[in-house]
Symmetry: C2
Subunit: 237 residues, 2 copies
Amino acid sequence: MTLTNVKALVFDVFGTVVDWRSSVTRECQAFGARKGIERDWTAFAVEWRKAYRPAMNRVISGELPWTNIDALHRMALVELLARHDIHGLSEAEIDDLNRAWHRLDPWPDSVAGLTRFKSRFIIATMSNGNVALMVNMAKRACLPWDAVLGAEVARAYKPERLAYETTARLLGLANEEVMLVAAHNRDLAAARGFGFCTGFVTRPTEHGPGQTTDLKADQDWDVVATDFRDMATQLGC
Amino acid sequence: MTLTNVKALVFDVFGTVVDWRSSVTRECQAFGARKGIERDWTAFAVEWRKAYRPAMNRVISGELPWTNIDALHRMALVELLARHDIHGLSEAEIDDLNRAWHRLDPWPDSVAGLTRFKSRFIIATMSNGNVALMVNMAKRACLPWDAVLGAEVARAYKPERLAYETTARLLGLANEEVMLVAAHNRDLAAARGFGFCTGFVTRPTEHGPGQTTDLKADQDWDVVATDFRDMATQLGC
């Protein structure tokens, strides 16, 4: 795979660009403090995230019609609140807590790295997160995307082929002119299978201090980097 | 209509944000100079633009399947070249000339105005232009969009309702939380009909020195401005 033809970098976002675990924990803690509710909010955040893949799989399998991540997060949240014996919230309070996912903080190198990437490449989201979530996140966190694309625009979730190919097509590019950047070997394996270039970045605390997965590259990805600054340097940005 | 609930400004682009007429003329002149072909390139640019609405109408009517603007521009260009007795171009040369529409210059106030709007609102394209065209234009012209939305993402051309409503929905907003900014009274009339707020900006030379249309607001649009700086001031940005 040659990188000289790459014109766009598209990014997994949750875990790769932003630290969902610390941010959602912080948001839940703030919610608890406001409401006077004590729980293990880190565990709550992790459980919430764990509901994400099974919920998407219900869409992929056709059990649910097209449903975006805000709606899937909210369905999971309602169940999670009940399981943690938290009751009596208004719809507006649940909506606001659900938008914790719009308020995720970038990793310390993300904004600087994206800014360098942007000088040389088109940079776009290719996230399973919906457009409103990505736009609100980007405005708060100063993520300088050229375009917000991905699952909702393609109406298909990664790792479905359509999610990847629609993103390249909308950018007017062939698959091999696009590099997926992700902290997850699985995402990259799918991308490579569809002819995309692949960039791996390690995010060794995405899942907390005891993380055991994605600590290193499983394959000879086209670029392997310790963070976005390192990747920008390797790409000559 | 109250503007206090407006959270996003979405923009018509051709004519409102960028000066297609001068830019396409300049691109065609440069093409002519490279190839040693003399024609009235201003007339050529205007004819090319005139082919745009009938071509889209063929999509809206169902005569053509979904076809994006790059492809519609190219179909029109091939006809136009033949009509102007220009032959023997390679496919790559036609593609490059077709991408003249990716290289449009902003009006002098556009970048400064958009930057001010962006400090207070989500700013997104709601153009009939396709995503790649809008992204390439934005990178070249430094248009700081938060999101590139519009016809191709909605798979519907303005003034179809779906083009407007999909844009609001993807931003997670109600129609009345979105203001369309356009230099065309007709675009705004459709937007108002669908419950959007409306912002009119005069672009008195979009169609050249003898322009007779859209020199003033036809209705009491929510904001009426002489340019984007004026509109930003009126919106408190």
